[in-house]
Symmetry: C2
Subunit: 214 residues, 2 copies
């Protein structure tokens, strides 16, 4: 708990050995989950001894927290990049740009995404909540603001909660990446094989709705 901050603040000063340990740990924890991964597994795949891992990290949980923090920093950085590269076009253009890049980012770094996903699944732990608050609340707020701007400018309907729209923009992407492996085995869901087409189709649908107005 208290120690984790200390460990990962100096993340850039870690020796190369520690970095490869962290890298392997992040991958294995993301793939199999905390309890299914042993220090032995990590030691083998990182080509170091078990004891060496305990030299660099205080405990197994400490290593896990370090990997989690690394994944969060990666995710947060990616979101920042997305927002910085937003053109100063209309809100709907900005929203579409965010949506597209966000989906691409999720697809490009499935490891971090998955590790965070797993952590959020443990809703019982305080960790998951604090994590979400600290890492995502700021970015989420900015996205909500973007929707609100579109609403006051009259481009978006005012009858909808801006936070709800933002939630759906994020959720449809996350849920897609989360289920795409199994989606491909459902009949009629060929869209699972073309993430880019999925992205633009979903944005179209969220924009205009599936119901016919003619």
């Amino acid at each position: 708990m208290t120690r984790a901050n200390h460990d990962s603040d100096a993340i850039c000063a870690l020796s190369p050995g520690a970095l490869s340990i962290l890298d392997v740990a992040e991958r294995l924890f993301a793939e199999k989950g905390f309890d299914a991964v042993s220090i032995n597994d990590i030691a083998q795949q990182a080509d170091v001894s078990k004891a060496n891992i305990f030299h660099h990290f205080k405990s197994k949980e400490g290593l896990y927290l370090a990997a989690l923090k690394s994944a969060c920093e990666h995710a947060a950085r990616a979101l920042d990049d997305v927002e910085q590269s937003l053109s100063s076009d209309s809100p709907q253009a900005q929203l579409q740009a965010f949506f597209t890049q966000h989906l691409q980012e999720l697809l490009a770094s499935p490891r971090s995404t998955r590790l965070i996903q797993r952590e959020l699944l443990e809703s019982g732990s305080e960790r998951g909540r604090r994590l979400a608050e600290e890492v995502f609340s700021e970015n989420f707020s900015r996205l909500v603001e973007l929707v609100r701007t579109g609403q006051v400018q009259g481009q978006f309907r005012q009858e909808f909660d801006a936070a709800l729209v933002a939630f759906l923009l994020i959720g449809t992407s996350v849920f897609f990446t989360q289920t795409s492996a199994v989606l491909q085995h459902l009949p009629g869901a060929e869209f699972a094989k073309f993430p880019d087409d999925y992205g633009s189709a979903v944005f179209q649908l969220l924009s205009h709705g599936f119901q016919n107005t003619t």
Copy 2:
């Protein structure tokens, strides 16, 4: 693998002791995941001895599979009920009825939902895929057909993939139940506290889109 079928076909003939074991197991596996739960934990909470569990179930994995199958049967039954109670109204009325009842079902039995969710997260295993295929593919197909019917009748836009619409109807509900615990801690997301309002608002949004047409 081969034994699981044998075990759970006779699920109704199990002794009361076995049923309480299965009940506790389903709860714990859903809450913490397979690896984080020990036979000791289950034995304690079910008020039986460790050995008794191995008398009723061949192994820890056998017990897990039994719990998973129970959860799947529960979920599938709920979906069947939903479809049977569909009125013979217009496709959009049927679609809305399905959406509403599906969301309510998810909220009413979070244990089963969560256990299946966890299993799907392990996309590496064949189990997850087969599970989704066998349990959900039929219901998913029926939902897709419902959307197609609305399309040929001209009530829904034909430009969208029917399977995509069906996917979003399911995904927005599942993702909501999945993240609601953490959602409540995000600024501006008050809708997390009112699932019913969330349901109707999302259906409105998916129907008409967030973009202004005036």
